[in-house]
């Protein structure tokens, strides 16, 4: 159930809906392509640079193609204190890529992120919209198996 922006139709969309429309386009196609940015600019009467400016400002919006699943490991202090580095290393070993990269099969993108508000369950990470806390390197493999 996700009704955010459901009242916005192609006819009624306005400049003020830009962020909602970008969020929606991203959840549809995984990232915001140059075409998507240009189309949105055209339909909202904005310049491409204005739309690009918003699309590139927010860390959960991506202007680069992303894997089907996005792993975000928290690198902020509360997780760092609980050995987040061992989780970062563990994920690296498990899927064979470094933060900032996407696996060749397009299954995972891997990022480091700032505080996700799960400090009571540090170290923590998000996979897509799911939060996984109290992590140990041993748990990683099993968690990632659920994401195809």
């Amino acid at each position: 159930m996700n009704k955010i922006g459901e009242g916005i139709s192609p006819q009624s969309q306005e400049k003020k809906d830009l962020l909602v429309l970008l969020e929606r386009a991203q959840s549809r196609s995984g990232y915001l392509s140059q075409e998507t940015v240009a189309e949105l600019a055209e339909s909202l009467g904005l310049s491409i640079s204005e739309v690009y400016g918003v699309a590139s400002f927010y860390s959960f919006l991506s202007i680069k193609p992303q894997g089907r699943n996005v792993i975000r490991i928290c690198k902020s202090i509360p997780c760092y204190l609980k050995n987040a580095q061992t989780i970062i290393d563990g994920v690296r070993k498990e899927i064979g890529i470094r933060p900032g990269e996407t696996t060749a099969d397009g299954r995972f993108s891997f990022q480091l992120t700032n505080c996700i508000g799960a400090c009571d369950r540090a170290p923590a990470m998000m996979v897509n919209n799911d939060v996984h806390g109290d992590l140990t390197p041993e748990k990683i493999s099993k968690i990632l198996k659920a994401y195809k």
């Binding site: 159930m1 996700n2 009704k3 955010i4 400049k15 003020k16 809906d17 830009l18 962020l19 909602v20 970008l22 969020e23 400016g53 918003v54 400002f57 927010y58 860390s59 959960f60 919006l61 902020s76 202090i77 509360p78 760092y80 204190l81 992120t113 700032n114 505080c115 996700i116 508000g117 799960a118 400090c119 009571d120 369950r121 540090a122 998000m126 919209n129 799911d130 939060v131």
Partner: protein, 398 residues
């Protein structure tokens, strides 16, 4: 020392997906009471309670409402700031997970008091998993007839720390980059789309039904002279029992971190997140209040094995990354501090660096446009004051 659960009184008690369990615990009684009074009288009650904003800035809530209420405009807005991005803070997540109804009741009372027909809850992207419980709670409240006069819409953030700052948050709702605005004008006179707007933190709004139900006098009975009521703290780091704790304002930091959260061998505690104060062990008796230390209630504990300079360096890297970039003192100042602190963390500091850090701090505090840049130097200055030795040891001898 024990907790005093006012804000959290329903957390873990009610079923957040079932409004009936909330109604059994005096749910929406405060709204019914408020609707029988003129809006001004509701505002008077909140003013009299002494409630101050729980998001970090501590602005008097009733005064904010009063300004918005008196602004002449047919269209007004209430915004609930659920963009809980401060490092080490998770209290609002806990509240939303466990008691979304009290929040909705608080928003409904706020809307009635200032004469708004529309409210937004701005929820951070990282809390996407809370959408469902929040939406269900709004639908149920509407069905029961509690939202006749107010439409509540959830807007989702997209990952930007600075959007927790009220003017950046409004720009984000307007579909723009979340950049800070020049002030004045302030939101109560010119906020969302230029209309009178009140922006309140989740925890601030949670206090509203409690005050309306029990009265300003009751609320004023808790806390210190300038800090009334309770505060919800998020405790993490080197503690045995990380979690959310609610204490009467004025309680001591020591009681919270050692007594409740079970910390041992404490070296320092950072109170208020990335831009928060660093309190050495010797000052652990400091009371938690607006007069002393508080912020949004993030409490991160460092034990004796931790390297304070490294902690400050990492914190500054975070702030540099999250600076919106609009004003130079913050954008350039945080980057310059990262460079210097990075050298210190590697043992390559220079004697003159300390003076440069102090000068940068002065400029940033004085000239930054918002709280991010103004407060970014605080951990640097506090650590220089209390842990100067850790810096001196890293001044390069070569």
């Amino acid at each position: 020392m024990s907790e005093t659960r006012v804000v959290l009184k329903n957390c873990g008690v009610i079923d957040p997906e079932d409004i009936a369990t909330y109604l059994d615990r005096e749910g929406f009684k405060a709204l019914k009471k408020a609707l029988k009074l003129p809006g001004e009288q509701v505002i008077e009650e909140i003013k009299a309670s002494g409630l101050r904003g729980r998001g970090g800035a501590g602005f008097p809530c009733g005064l904010k409402w009063d300004l918005a209420s008196k602004a002449k405009d047919d269209e007004k807005y209430v915004i609930c700031n659920a963009d809980e991005g401060e490092v080490g803070t998770f209290k609002d997540r806990y509240i939303l997970e466990n008691d979304p109804f009290s929040l909705i009741e608080g928003i409904a009372i706020a809307g009635y008091a200032i004469g708004a027909r529309k409210a937004y809850i701005y929820l951070r992207a990282e809390y996407h998993f809370l959408l469902d419980v929040l939406e269900k709670a709004i639908v149920q409240s509407k069905k029961k007839g509690f939202l006749k006069y107010l439409d509540i819409e959830i807007r989702q953030g997209a990952g930007a720390y600075v959007c927790g700052e009220e003017s950046a948050l409004m720009d984000s709702i307007e579909g723009k980059r979340g950049e800070v605005r020049y002030r004045p004008p302030f939101p109560p006179t010119s906020g969302l789309w230029g209309k009178p707007t009140i922006i309140n933190n989740v925890e601030t709004l949670m206090n509203i039904p409690r005050i309306m139900l029990n009265g300003a006098e009751w609320f004023r009975g808790m806390g210190t002279e300038k800090s009334k009521g309770t505060k919800v703290f998020s405790v993490s780091g080197d503690v045995g029992k990380p979690g959310v704790y609610e204490l009467v304002l004025g309680s001591r930091l020591k009681e919270l971190v050692e007594g409740l959260a079970g910390a041992e061998k404490v070296q320092a505690v950072q109170v208020g997140g990335a831009t928060g104060r660093i309190i050495p062990y010797s000052m652990l008796d400091t009371p938690l209040s607006f007069e002393t230390i508080l912020g949004a209630g993030a409490v991160t504990v460092f034990n004796e094995t931790r390297d304070i300079v490294d902690m400050v360096y990492r914190t500054m890297k975070f702030l540099a990354e999250e600076s919106c970039g609009k004003c130079a003192p913050c954008r350039e100042g945080t980057e310059a501090m990262v460079e210097i602190l990075g050298r210190f963390s590697k043992g390559e500091g220079l004697e003159k660096d300390i003076t440069v850090l102090e000068e940068l701090a002065d400029t940033m505090m004085l000239a930054s446009m918002c709280g991010l840049g103004q407060a970014a130097p605080i951990p640097v200055m506090d650590s220089l004051k209390h842990f100067r030795g850790a810096y001196d040891q890293r001044i390069s001898q070569s």
